[in-house]
């Protein structure tokens, strides 16, 4: 008989797996995924970058490398970070296997059982999974139109020792909401004042369909209490498994050791390839192309939802990112709609609220579906919700 799993993994299994399964369900239209649109990957340019760099490098490119990752790529990330108000050295930047690895490293480095862990409510399921494996005490902080409710957070800080807060400040997963400038400044200050760490997870920043971007929360961090995560997954390709983590020195020293014991170092072959891609191409042009397509899809989904959903529904109209958040009347259970209909899929909300497990909301993805699918999916969703509401009323 195999031994028991550690206490961390005795709990019920992951919501993440169902997320991946749902995205692949046959015959259904999937609003469940969080995948970028495949047709936009710059495959030709990435392949060419690999080829070109392979001619410029010797065997050392296939050797072990530093725990922080390929230095010239980190230098480019430093320049990019500066544009967002973050002034750091390349020693403060670690290349990670996607931003997910950064989240997991920070959870591992900081969280003991019972530690105070604040999250936006709702929040990103992948982050929750990484935190939950360390059994912290979760605090849900309500989302408002301009980002998380800092008054509520401050109340928590006054009554409990908070260790970390996790936030997606731009086009939040799953609500699509952006945090205001005033809140970014106040949050950085609060982190310093109450000695907690802010994980600023920022994979959607560049996917802005209107308006202009705001500085990172880390831009206002004077005490090293904010760590910023970024990712190539949404602007280049998820298969590159390349993200980054920006942290101050003390923290980075600890993270380097943790990295060596986790998976040694990131691939320098991939690092070189991305570096060459950035040398030879204007990534901002590429991002504009992405945004042109996603803007249309967002518009199509908002239009579809307005057309087909009953008026009892409420949904966000995000300025960028991947997701629309849909709230149904409080006594409707989104999972039941999924079970009863299933010809359109989405992420139901209970796994996205670690404490309240609210069940009446849905995360809808608009970037991985085309216009026809969006139209038809919204129609199916509207019908399913109407039938559910109607039945509910008639049962009463």
């Amino acid at each position: 008989m195999i031994p028991r799993f550690s206490k961390r993994f005795e709990r019920d299994s992951s919501g993440l797996e169902s997320l991946f399964t749902l995205s692949e369900k046959k015959d259904a239209i999937s609003f469940a995924g969080g995948y970028p649109a495949e047709e936009l990957f710059p495959k030709e340019e990435l392949d060419a970058a690999f080829l070109k760099r392979s001619e410029l490098t010797d065997n050392s490119v296939y050797q072990y490398s530093s725990a922080l990752g390929y230095e010239p790529l980190r230098a480019k990330i430093r320049t990019y970070a500066k544009r967002n108000g973050i002034d750091c050295e390349i020693e403060n930047i670690m290349i990670t296997q996607g931003a997910q690895q950064g989240i997991n490293f920070l959870a591992d480095l900081f969280l003991d059982v019972g530690d105070g862990m604040a999250v936006e409510a709702p929040t990103y399921i992948g982050a929750l999974e990484a935190f939950a494996a360390r059994s912290p005490e979760f605090y849900e902080i309500e989302m408002q139109d301009d980002g998380l409710n800092l008054d509520q957070l401050e109340e928590v800080c006054k009554h409990h020792q908070l260790k970390m807060l996790y936030t997606v400040p731009n086009f939040q997963n799953p609500t699509g909401i952006c945090m205001s400038l005033a809140k970014r400044k106040r949050l950085a200050k609060m982190a310093s004042q109450y000695d907690f760490l802010v994980i600023e997870d920022d994979p959607y920043r560049e996917l802005r369909y209107e308006g202009v971007g705001l500085p990172s929360i880390k831009a206002f961090d004077m005490s090293g209490n904010v760590v910023t995560l970024g990712s190539c997954s949404k602007i280049l390709s998820p298969a590159l498994r390349t993200g980054w983590l920006i942290a101050d020195e003390t923290l980075m020293n600890a993270l380097k050791n943790l990295r060596l014991a986790s998976d040694c170092n990131p691939s320098s072959v991939v690092g070189q390839m991305i570096d060459e891609y950035l040398e030879d191409n204007d990534i901002n042009e590429h991002i504009e192309e992405i945004n042109d397509l996603y803007r249309d899809r967002r518009d199509a989904m908002i239009e579809g939802l307005k057309r087909y959903l009953p008026e009892e529904c409420d949904f966000t109209e995000p300025l960028g990112g991947f997701f629309i958040w849909l709230e149904l009347p409080e006594d409707v259970v989104a999972q039941e709609i999924l079970d009863n209909y299933g010809d359109v899929t989405f992420i139901e909300s209970s796994t996205l609220f670690p404490v309240s497990h609210r069940r009446n909301c849905m995360r809808l993805n608009f970037t991985g579906v085309n216009d026809e699918e969006i139209e038809e999916g919204c129609r199916r969703l509207g019908d399913a919700i109407k039938e559910t509401l109607y039945e509910r009323i008639s049962v009463k």
Copy 2:
């Protein structure tokens, strides 16, 4: 102020970092590394494999993929595993970021504070780091000429609840010792009998310079108590960050969830590249080339040690792998030789014994140095040891 690290990371920092630093020390000859010889990387063939596969694939190669990794590559690993006596399905194989990630996953999945964790004494520092982060109770099991002392292990099992045992059965890191067939069979049986998990870490298996290979420990596992890890790092390239983990169903289901929360999935771009390399090349021919060079280097180092070391020294003569293990008289401190001389570097032993911290041994790597460096390094090492012994005697 940033919050305190978790209890797991409050301890003294890593021996791993010094390992990487030592390997890069200027002007010294390094026997400290664990790097493969760069000149052997099949760069041209790997680059060509990428190029060829890039012509055969569409954009989907740049998308997120399954947590287990690229399926055709797993099918090839399955065939390879079968040759070593392991009969498994591709669903039992997970591609990992090097074998290190597999070690770390298993440590994470199983170890609670105080759990019984048996390791070979001495053992691989990178594995120790991953285990130590979960604060288990370590048990050192002595290494004999034919692998770890199973009578001693059985005594531990009778008096303590052991959760895991970590072993490198072929050309062990750091001693170079192979486990006998009889011990492999007995260990698999003991794991089942005493309900502990065996981590069989097997990255050096193919680097055999004489004799024939033995079946995996997992070949004798009837109860799912053995997990085998393999790696491309030593036979192809470490920069591919590609290893694998073979486990039975229950365990693999848990590992899939853990993987999703850790870094989602391995890169399918890299997976495709390795798969194409294996289609187009005879990797066994490549391994023969590696072994021809490493065999010469091993012979050169054994010869050098015999020539220059005083008779008070004892060292292993491994049949394969990367390392020779050198034992000095019990009251000699290897670290002092490193501090006092330093023109030849090695891994001193205290960090490789998690309980006894024996200080009088050295791990010597022979694969990353050429014949001249080996000759000169052995001379320097011999001089340093003689001077140390002589001084010690004269002080007495």
